[in-house]
Structure formats: structure tokens, C-alpha cells
């Protein structure tokens, strides 16, 4: 096991772009876990003595229009981004992989039914679908928006919006692979359906899946930000990066740094995710 992992890691770090991307993502992961511990100030409390402070030695990223430390907010916000965008993507990838494998392998009416249903979901632009879902959630839960406000709604939306896309990618690989002789052989050997799907077919889909997951993750960050921007996503004072960009935009003439740093953080993570996806694809292919 270990030699395989270490050779995989060596391939991942073999060229500069994918090494850079992977490093960025690792740092981001560490921030998401330890960010709240590292933050020098509470992310949500005004520091009344230093409102609208430009970046300096005490406040590395300055303070925002409500005198909150931007550096602390960006650090703490990493977790929100990972949990929402990352978690939503993970659920979408898991569900999409499962459905794509089953649908592609089974074929026939089940495949037809699932794919047409996903087509109908895909016909709606992602943002519109998200707004529809969140509006329905809000109407259903009414006053009890706390769970929705904390991001549960956004989490569900990401899963619903991205599952069909992942499923289609996986299904296309399955269609290409399922007639290969090694799959036929496994079937003739009497292997279980689970074995065939996950041990024989899935590895062939992994490179494409890795790229798709990373792409979905970067889109998920954007979608989360857009929803925060439209006022239907996570609620303040959550230090979600997208929400911070939106708040910063309103005060950009006075506290531009409150927008720069979260915007830069989004860019860096999105770029990192893409570079790592490219590296993953290559490393998985060479395996």
C-alpha cells in the first residue's frame, strides 16, 4: 500500500504546476482545520479602536467597515468554504459516481429514466436552480431559517446541482469501459456487481473523476459566493469569502483591502484546485 501511495505522491509532485496546486490545497486544508485557532482576533467582533484600518503590523489584512480583523475572517472563512463548497462537492461526487456507475452499467430503461431526469435538471442554469431550491426551502421552513442561513441550504443546493454533471461524466466512462474484455472476464468469473462496478470499472473513471471533482469544487466556490452575493446563501456575520467580497464591494472606496484579500483567497484556491486536478489526472493515468 505505502509504496503505491508514495509513488503516486512522487508523480503528483513531479512537475511544478501540480506540485504548486497540491501545496496550495494542502495549506488550504490545514487552514480550514486550524484557521480558527490561528486567527489572532475573533472573526465577528468589532475592534472599536481600529475601524477601517489599512493593513499594518497589528492587522495584517486591515480591518473592515465594521472594524473586524480581515486576516482573522479570511482564516476562519477557509473552513466555511471547505465545508460548504468542499462538502457539497463531495456529496455530489459520491452520489454522481454511484448513479453514473449504475446507470451506465445497467443501461436500458433505468439508464434512460435517470439520464432524462438529469437532463431536465441540467436544462436549468445552475444559479436559477439554486435560487429555486433555496426559495422553496425558505418558504417551507419559514421563520426557521437558521439552518438554511448556516449553509445547510447551500450544501443541499450544491449536491443537487452538481450530481447530474458528475453522473454524466462517470456514465460516459462506464459506457466505454463496460464492454472491455477484463470487465467481461470479471462478469464470467461470477464477481459481484459491487466488485465489478467499484474494482473493475471505477478505477478507469478515476482520472476523469478527479478533474471533474476539482472543477466542481472551483465552481462550487463561485456558486456559494454568488448565492451569498444575492443574499440567499450563508448569512452574515459568517466570514464566507464570497460574502466578504460582496460586503467589501459595497465599501470598496473606503476599505478596499476588505475585498482584496478574500477575493485573492478565492482566486488562489480555485487556481490551486485546477492545477492539482491536472496533476491528479496525470498521476492516476500513469498508475
Amino acid at each position: 500500500m505505502w509504496p503505491r501511495v508514495s509513488s503516486f505522491l512522487r508523480r503528483l509532485f513531479a512537475d511544478f504546476p501540480s506540485a504548486l496546486g497540491t501545496t496550495i490545497m494542502l495549506v488550504f486544508l490545514l487552514l480550514a482545520v486550524f484557521g480558527p485557532l490561528l486567527a489572532p482576533y475573533p472573526y465577528d467582533l468589532p475592534i472599536y479602536e481600529h475601524p477601517r484600518q489599512a493593513p499594518d503590523a497589528t492587522h495584517w489584512f486591515g480591518t473592515d467597515h465594521l472594524a473586524r480583523d480581515v486576516f482573522s475572517r479570511v482564516l476562519v472563512g477557509a473552513r466555511s468554504v471547505l465545508l460548504l463548497a468542499g462538502g457539497g462537492t463531495l456529496v455530489a461526487v459520491a452520489l454522481g459516481t454511484l448513479v453514473g456507475l449504475v446507470s451506465g452499467y445497467a443501461g436500458g430503461w433505468l439508464d434512460e429514466l435517470l439520464m432524462r431526469f438529469f437532463d431536465s435538471l441540467l436544462a436549468l442554469p445552475a444559479l436559477l436552480l439554486a435560487l429555486l431550491l433555496l426559495g422553496t426551502l425558505r418558504a417551507t421552513y419559514g421563520e426557521d431559517v437558521s439552518a438554511v442561513g448556516k449553509g445547510l441550504g447551500v450544501f443541499l443546493v450544491l449536491a443537487v446541482v452538481y450530481t447530474p454533471i458528475v453522473a454524466r461524466v462517470v456514465r460516459s466512462v462506464v459506457l466505454a469501459v463496460k464492454t472491455r474484455s477484463y470487465v467481461e472476464a470479471a462478469r464470467l468469473q461470477g464477481e459481484s456487481l459491487g466488485w465489478i462496478l467499484f474494482r473493475e470499472i471505477l478505477p478507469a473513471a478515476l482520472p476523469a473523476l478527479a478533474v471533474e471533482a476539482a472543477l466542481r469544487f472551483s465552481y462550487a466556490i463561485f456558486l456559494t459566493s454568488s448565492l451569498g452575493y444575492l443574499g440567499v446563501g450563508v448569512q452574515p456575520p459568517n466570514p464566507d469569502w464570497g460574502l466578504m467580497v460582496n460586503e467589501g464591494r459595497r465599501n470598496v472606496s473606503q476599505v478596499p483591502w476588505a475585498m482584496w484579500f478574500p477575493a485573492a483567497a478565492i482566486s488562489v484556491v480555485v487556481v490551486g484546485a485546477n492545477l492539482m486536478a491536472e496533476g491528479l489526472k496525470r498521476a492516476l493515468r500513469e498508475e
Binding site: 421563520e143 448569512q235 452574515p236 456575520p237
Partner: protein, 542 residues
């Protein structure tokens, strides 16, 4: 090939980042590049200014043209206007019978003077001589009668019908004299006559959107969502007005674009902008900034007709947990004034009692009150409420600061920042239904409006669902007595009650911001930006 792909990708992403970064920088940098004014069409001769000098403020011809940035207008019928920009346009095309000056006092406009009977029921107005409509026809008492009969017609579908329900009769008692008879005394009748909608239109007007007013400017062209171009009315009845050859209201969707246009010299005047934009304009060459206090405020209110707001300890705890001074400094950056939980702001002169203050912040006492409330009623000592707030102005910021201040007293609120269309929707989740909300209230020339609409038991917008017999009685007194001292006393008592037990928190009164090019002089802004009258503005260097 295999190795080139990731590299190409890196180059591409790096390029994308660069472009994004430069766009961002461009958006933040002051727009200083383009300072010419291609839209300028007033003067035949080019103004003799050195083009290498600061040209942000280009004098626009002999008598000049003032270009004002405003939100687009929708309604042009004076009876239906409501937004700042709609009122601003109408106020220059038409005239009010009675106007309100910058100190909130009734002042003559088409009426040169008036007398009031001792019983307060009969008002006789003398009208200005030599006034003509833009179509050339003469103005007379019949036009005033027609205008106000239209505005008070209960079947006319205009929002002013209830405001003027107290008028028993309007008669032309002379060619230039109008008599209003009321069914009950109304100490605020002159203010009511100067309501935003009460612009005089011609007797028998078939189309009230025809811009046929008596005002200082005539409409040359109106392009919806683009601009409205006006020129001076040479026959205007007030000597020396207007002081400019032209007035152009250019429509912008948001205040950032307006301020950029002012910096770039595409407009000369901007009113209403965020505090942060205003701050960024201070000290800019060629631009004069003004801020005036207003009576407008943000109202934090708790529904008082059900738990938990029906328990006075909860109301008191929220008041005790709030630091109004800190909120004012942070959210309004020290502009305007600190609030005292009453809609009678310091601008109302004798009505305002500066000695009335809500209880000083005491987090421990708030905590104790809530513990007592929870022990006795079985309620939640953290309250655990949702604070609904429209996504406009400084309201989301106010909500965020309140959330923190209240948390120190153990009060837990979730924020729900909503588009205005959601916040102001009907029903239990709209602004009149939710337990805890923040509503913005605009500036009014007299305080009675807030009390009858917002705080009286039967108020149309009694969003706190508050019902207090003592308050109702005081509101009735203030609204009917002809004795100024009695009215002032009633307002001062109301302030004391609100500060002590009203289910409302008013943390600050807004300031009104404006910025005008140095090329103009004689500008005076009003608390309600739309009622600002620029007919007295002239070029600084004619």
C-alpha cells in the same frame, strides 16, 4: 505534449488572474482619465478654461447647465411620484402651493401668503400674480382647486386621498385667492399642503404626465432610464430664478456609478450615497461635499403583541444590551446623530427633549432581567430570535453589530438579510409580521406622521404591534391641539415613554450626503433629497 498541457494551463490561469487583478485595480482607482463632457450641449462658445487644468468641473456655457445624477424615474404624474428622483424632477417642473424650507418650516411658493381662522378650520391663501403654465396659459385659483380636488378624490386612486380626507371644501374665493375649509383642526395642515404630491397642475388637465407645470424649468426631452433634459422657464414668476440655463437629470442605477461620474466630470451633483462613498469624496479637488442631519432613522423593533416581546423585561433587556453610541460611530461613522429610541430627532427643535435618554448600557442587568423572565414564564433566556433585515443602506451592518452587542448579554439572534422585495412582502414573514426586524424610515418635516403610522395602536404600519393607551392619547393630543406648548409637552412625554418601555430601538438618525462641482454656487440641500430646489443655483464664475 503531455508535459506542455499543465504548463499551458498554468500560463492561462496566471493570465486570467492578471486580467482579474487589473480589472479590480481599475475599478478601485479614481476615474481620472476621461474628464471631457461630450454631453455638454448648452453653450455655443467653449468655456475659456485651460484644458490642462483640473477639468472635473467644466462651466457649461453662459448661464450653465447643472447635470444631476439620480436613480431612474418611473412615475411622472405628480399625484403618483414617490422616489427621491421623481420628486426632484417634478419639483422643478411644477410648483407647490406651500413649500418647506431647509429648516422644515412652511414657506410661500405659489401662495404668497395665508391667513388661518382662530378655530383653525379656515385657511385663505393669496396666490402669486403673473404666473403662467409652460403652455402659456395663465395660472389662477381654479388650478389650485382642481389640483387638490383631484388629490383628495377617494375614487381617484391617488395615495393622498386619506391625507386630505379632513378637507371639507376647497373654493376659489377670488381669481387669485383660495379658501380651504377643514372638518377638524389640523395643526399640520400647511405641511400636508406641501406633501410631495401636491404640485399644482392645470385645471382640467387630461394627461397629468404632460409636464405642463408652472415651475422654474420646462421639459425639453425625456428618455426613460436615460435622462430628462430641462431648460430654464424664462417666464418664471420668481425674480432671478432659475439661475441656470438648463438642468439635466441623468439616471444611474447605483451610487458608485454616480460618484464615478461626478469624479469624471460627467455630472455635477450627486445626492444620496453611502457613507463610505461620501468619505472617499471628501477633499477631492473641484468638488464640495456637504452633509446635513436629517430626521430619518433605522428602526429596530420587536413585536409587542406576543411572546417574547410582550414581556416588558425582554424589551428592557434589549435596550440595556444596546450601545447606541458605538453603533452610530461604526455604522454611520459619526455622521447624523445618536438616537434615543424615539422618532423625534434633534432636528425637531422644541419637540425634541435632549434630556431623555434610554437606560445606559448594562449587560449584567440585561442578563438578569432575561433570567428572571425565563424563570417566570418558561421562556428562552437567549430569546433565540431571527433578526430580519433588508439588504439596503447600512441596515445589514447595523444588524451585524447588534448581533454582537446582544450576544454579550446572552441574547442569540440569527440574521436574515433579505432583498427589499422579500422584507417588505405581505404576510407573517414580511416586515409587518416578523418578531424582530429593522426598517428604514425616511425624513419627514414633522414628527406626527411617525406616531400615527408607526406607533399608534391603529397605525397602518404599526410594525411592532404595540398598543399603549397612554401613548395613543398623547399622539391624539399632539395631532389635534392648536397650542404649540401643549404639543411640545406631548412629544416630550412620548419620548420618555419610548425610551423607557417602547418596543423599539432607534440607534441613530441619518445624515444626508451631497457632493457638487465647485463650478456652481448657491446650492442648499434638504433633508429629503428629492425636495432639494436647485432653481437658486448659479454658476460660480459667470
Amino acid at each position: 505534449m503531455k508535459t506542455a498541457t499543465p504548463f499551458k494551463r498554468l500560463v492561462l490561469t496566471a493570465l486570467t488572474l492578471l486580467v482579474a487583478a487589473s480589472l479590480l485595480l481599475a475599478a478601485c482607482a479614481p476615474a481620472g482619465g476621461d474628464t471631457t463632457t461630450p454631453e455638454d450641449t448648452t453653450g455655443g462658445e467653449a468655456p475659456a478654461t485651460d484644458p490642462t487644468e483640473d477639468t472635473a468641473a467644466v462651466p457649461a456655457g453662459p448661464a450653465g447647465k447643472l447635470r444631476v445624477a439620480f436613480q431612474p424615474i418611473v412615475a411622472t404624474d405628480p399625484g403618483l411620484i414617490s422616489s427621491d428622483s421623481e420628486v426632484f424632477v417634478a419639483n422643478h417642473v411644477y410648483d407647490y402651493l406651500v413649500d418647506i424650507d431647509a429648516q422644515s418650516n412652511p414657506t410661500p411658493r405659489l401662495a404668497t401668503g395665508w391667513t388661518v381662522s382662530d378655530d383653525g378650520l379656515t385657511y385663505v391663501f393669496t396666490l402669486a400674480e403673473g404666473v403662467t403654465f409652460h403652455d402659456g396659459s395663465a395660472f389662477s385659483a381654479a388650478d389650485v382647486v382642481y389640483t387638490f380636488n383631484r388629490l383628495r378624490d377617494v375614487n381617484g386612486g391617488l395615495p393622498t386621498a386619506s391625507l386630505y380626507a379632513n378637507i371639507a371644501a376647497i373654493e376659489a374665493t377670488g381669481d387669485l385667492e383660495v379658501t380651504f375649509t377643514l372638518s377638524a383642526p389640523n395643526p399640520f395642515f400647511l405641511y400636508d399642503l406641501s406633501d410631495n404630491h401636491a404640485l399644482v397642475i392645470k385645471d382640467g388637465t387630461a394627461d397629468p404626465t404632460d409636464f405642463n407645470g408652472t415651475g422654474p424649468f420646462k421639459v425639453v426631452s425625456y428618455t426613460p432610464e436615460d435622462r430628462i433634459v430641462l431648460e430654464a422657464n424664462p417666464a418664471y414668476f420668481q425674480a432671478g430664478k432659475p439661475g441656470l440655463a438648463g438642468l439635466e437629470v441623468i439616471f444611474f442605477a447605483d451610487d458608485q456609478a454616480m460618484v464615478d461620474a461626478l469624479r469624471g466630470g460627467q455630472v455635477d451633483l450627486v445626492m444620496r450615497m453611502s457613507t463610505s462613498l461620501f468619505e472617499s469624496l471628501i477633499g477631492e479637488a473641484g468638488i464640495t461635499t456637504l452633509d446635513i442631519p436629517t430626521n430619518g432613522f433605522d428602526l429596530v423593533r420587536l413585536r409587542a403583541d406576543r411572546a417574547p416581546g410582550n414581556d416588558p423585561r425582554v424589551v428592557e433587556a434589549l435596550k440595556l444590551a444596546t450601545d447606541r453610541e458605538a453603533i452610530w460611530q461604526l455604522v454611520q461613522q459619526g455622521y447624523g446623530a445618536v438616537g434615543n429610541d424615539s422618532p423625534v430627532g434633534p432636528l425637531y427643535g422644541p419637540y425634541h427633549d435632549p434630556s431623555v435618554q434610554p437606560p445606559a448600557r448594562d449587560v449584567e442587568r440585561a442578563r438578569a432581567l432575561l433570567a428572571e423572565y425565563a424563570a417566570e414564564t418558561g421562556g428562552d433566556p437567549t430569546l433565540n430570535l431571527v433578526l430580519h433585515v433588508p439588504d439596503s443602506g447600512g441596515r445589514p451592518d447595523l444588524a451585524a453589530v447588534l448581533q454582537q452587542q446582544w450576544a454579550e448579554a446572552g441574547i442569540v439572534v440569527e440574521l436574515s438579510v433579505e432583498p427589499e422585495s422579500v422584507y417588505y412582502a405581505d404576510g407573517e414573514n414580511g416586515w409587518l409580521g416578523v418578531d424582530l426586524g429593522i426598517t428604514g424610515w425616511g425624513s419627514r418635516p414633522y414628527p406626527q406622521f411617525y406616531f400615527t403610522q408607526m406607533l399608534a395602536s391603529n397605525g397602518e404600519w404599526n410594525e411592532a404591534h404595540w398598543s399603549d393607551a397612554e401613548v395613543d392619547a398623547l399622539i391624539a393630543t399632539a395631532g389635534s391641539t392648536l397650542d404649540e406648548a401643549e404639543r411640545a409637552a406631548a412629544y416630550q412625554q412620548l419620548q420618555a415613554i419610548l425610551a423607557e418601555r417602547g418596543p423599539v430601538i432607534i440607534p441613530y438618525y441619518f445624515a444626508q450626503f451631497g457632493a457638487i462641482s465647485d463650478a456652481f454656487t448657491g446650492f442648499e440641500m434638504k433633508a429629503f433629497a428629492g425636495r432639494t430646489d436647485v432653481s437658486g443655483v448659479t454658476l460660480a464664475t459667470p
